[in-house]
């Protein structure tokens, strides 16, 4: 199998994961104006599913301990190593595990989104944002401390469904390309959603909630559905990330990386606009990779650790976008209900009738 240079792979990987999470955020924030400050919740749910479920099923199938012992760090390494050896020789089972886990993560992520509907129907604006943020942190605290789930502070190893193609660079290439494929599917789905009648309803509710409900749109149902869709997509991203990194420690999933950064990408590209999101995530991924690549030469010029430079840069991007270009790089355009030609034809016909 072909191997791509690591830098290119890193860009593809970060771009794909960023795109999936940000698209899911945009469906909730951009299309419906829900202040989703708890994206971490669904992402972490997906990661927990990937770390806790497929390994246990395979362990039970192979006759290994799969209960609370599975997540105990002294056993976990050995168990996962045995499972990985088996997965290595069994491409079908590997792919099956991968697809099954992603579907399961999407289902459970959707369920989490459904649970979030409870506060989302009762609270607004800052209150809702803070509540969702608290939910994400709450799940992180539980996963970080409750050992039988995903090993608590010791973490667990995650079974590796990418390993069957080979080790090292080959695995990296396969994983990055697979994630890129998922990202494209998610992007196309979000684009279709934006153009569908449902997408137009979302934007109608966003722009004039009262008017939409006067026209008979069930606001509660729409909010719930949107949260479910957003939650499932974000959970897929979490599961993919856990599979790729090969280990799972709850504390590495922070609100900064999985909630605030996607917000920054979204605002940079253009809220409510899928193409803008794509551009925002791409620009950010490129500049981040550049910072990491040129770490040495940057520190030679300015005596600042590049890690802190990254924080300052993201902060400046957010502030600058909010102040000077609130619509983002590519502003949202109204989506048309029919293709342009058909609309033109209909208009001409109407003119003739007059």
């Amino acid at each position: 199998m072909i191997e791509l240079p690591p830098t290119v792979l890193q860009i593809i990987l970060n771009f794909s994961i960023g795109l999936i999470v940000t698209v899911s955020l945009n469906i909730e924030v951009g299309f419906l104006n829900l202040p989703q400050f708890g994206r971490l919740l669904a992402v972490l749910t997906g990661a927990i599913v990937a770390a806790a479920v497929p390994g246990r099923i395979l362990a039970a199938y192979m006759g290994l301990p799969w209960g609370a012992d599975y997540a105990y760090h002294l056993y976990n390494f050995g168990i996962v190593a045995q499972i990985n050896n088996m997965l290595c020789e069994n491409p079908g089972l590997s792919l099956g595990t991968l697809v099954f886990t992603l579907i399961l993560a999407a289902l459970i992520g959707g369920a989490v989104g459904y649970l979030c509907a409870y506060p989302a129907l009762r609270l607004k604006e800052a209150y809702l944002g803070i509540t969702l943020l608290a939910f994400g942190e709450l799940l992180m605290t539980i996963a970080w401390n409750y050992d039988p789930l995903v090993g608590g502070t010791m973490g667990v190893w995650v079974v590796d469904p990418f390993r069957f193609v080979g080790a090292g660079g080959t695995r990296f290439t396969f994983a990055a390309l697979f994630m890129f494929m998922v990202a494209i599917v998610v992007y196309v789905y979000a684009e279709l959603l934006a153009r569908s009648p449902f997408g137009r309803v979302l934007k109608a509710v966003r722009d004039a909630e009262v008017a939409a409900s006067v026209y008979g749109k069930d606001i509660e149902k729409i909010r719930t559905q949107t949260l479910i869709i957003g939650g499932s997509i974000a959970a897929v991203a979490g599961a993919l990330w856990a599979f790729f990194t090969g280990s799972m420690k709850a504390a590495t999933y922070t609100r900064l990386t999985w909630t605030f950064w996607p917000w920054a990408f979204m605002m940079l590209g253009g809220v409510g606009n899928n193409l803008g999101i794509l551009v925002g995530v791409f620009l950010y991924t490129i500049s981040r990779t550049a910072i990491i690549l040129y770490k040495g030469s940057i520190s030679a010029i300015i005596p600042i650790d590049p890690e802190w430079l990254e924080y300052i840069m993201i902060g400046l991007v957010i502030v600058a976008v909010v102040l000077f270009r609130p619509q983002g790089i590519i502003p949202e355009k109204p989506t048309l209900a029919l293709p342009k030609q058909r609309l033109k034809a209909v208009l001409e016909e109407l003119d003739k009738e007059k």
Binding site: R122, T141, N145, I314, V317, I318, V319, V322, L323, P326
Partner: protein
């Protein structure tokens, strides 16, 4: 017995700090409708100002509390002038205001780390992690002795209540500030400049955040992300207080702190020590429950907004 007293002192000190910080969030939210995420880094800066001055100049951490408050107050003022004012003029939405402070928070956090690196490299101070509890002064009370922060922190909390109360009810500026918060249009018709009010809210809010951070150096381990870790407790305090009442925030923050420190110990005697690990979950739970059950929070106790 001594252990229990120590725990109690620490709980009171910590809770007072959370109360002071929560008041900052509430004050800024009321005046400008901005839910201030930058609070995290303001608290962090408060901690590091006290740390740096104590190590470089000397004296006790208490001597440098005012400097921390002043510095963070200025930071608050700068945030208002550079970011918040423009957005308020453009009538930005609440979520946009919130996002803008998040951007500011990341910038402040970046520079805080740069500052910490500077202290480490140039002055050889242990700026990654520092523990100031050992530098606290012991006050002997009869047979036992307690740490001074157990007295100073609640005293500062009370002082903040009194000064804020006097400022808001007795001074012309404070009264006009309340008027501008209640109804900006009407207030500006009667000659009050709402922009001045917003600026003062950010100044006082920043100063309170810095004060709370400075005091916290004596209670918790200092590191650059300490503010980020604790910010949820501050949010919880502000929300339990009702988000519209400054006194509510002071009380709410205090209660959240007590719940976090003492509540966990009380539960632990019943169910066992494993519960200690879940301490960070307490403010989150308290906050989520308050929001869902009674979003007006403690403010219902006195029936009004303020």
């Amino acid at each position: 017995m001594n252990n229990l007293l120590d725990l109690l002192i620490k709980a009171i000190a910590y809770s007072s700090c959370i109360g002071i910080g929560a008041a900052s969030i509430t004050l800024i939210y009321n005046a400008t409708k901005t839910f201030n995420f930058a609070h995290a880094s303001l608290v962090g800066w408060g901690m590091y100002i006290v740390f740096a001055l104590t190590c470089l100049i000397g004296y006790t951490p208490y001597h440098h509390l005012l400097s921390a408050a002043l510095f963070c107050g200025l930071l608050g003022g700068i945030i208002y002038l550079s970011v918040n004012r423009r957005l308020l003029k453009a009538k930005a939405k609440e979520v946009t205001l919130m996002m803008s402070t998040l951007g500011v928070d990341l910038i402040l956090f970046g520079f805080l780390n740069v500052f910490s690196d500077y202290l480490l490299r140039v002055h050889r101070l242990p700026a990654k992690y520092f523990i100031f509890e050992t530098r606290d002064i012991a006050v002997s009370l009869g047979p036992t002795s307690i740490r001074l922060v157990g007295l100073v922190a609640p005293l500062v909390l009370v002082l903040v209540v009194v000064i804020l109360h006097l400022f808001l009810t007795k001074t012309k500026l404070g009264i006009s500030m309340r008027a501008a918060i209640e109804n900006p249009e009407l207030a500006s018709l009667s000659g009050i400049n709402p922009e001045l009010t917003y600026a003062i809210a950010w100044l006082i809010g920043g100063a309170l955040a810095g004060l709370s951070g400075g005091l916290l150096t004596l209670v918790v381990t200092g590191y650059t992300a300490a503010g980020m870790t604790m910010v949820v407790s501050f949010f919880a305090g502000s929300i339990v207080g009702g988000l519209y009442s400054i006194y509510g925030a002071l009380l709410g923050g205090f209660l959240v702190g007590v719940g976090e420190y003492l509540g966990v110990s009380v539960i632990a005697t019943g169910v066992g020590g494993w519960i200690y690990a879940y301490r960070p979950a307490i403010p989150l739970l308290v906050m989520a429950i308050t929001l869902l059950v009674q979003p007006r929070g403690l403010a219902i106790l006195w029936g009004g907004r303020r």
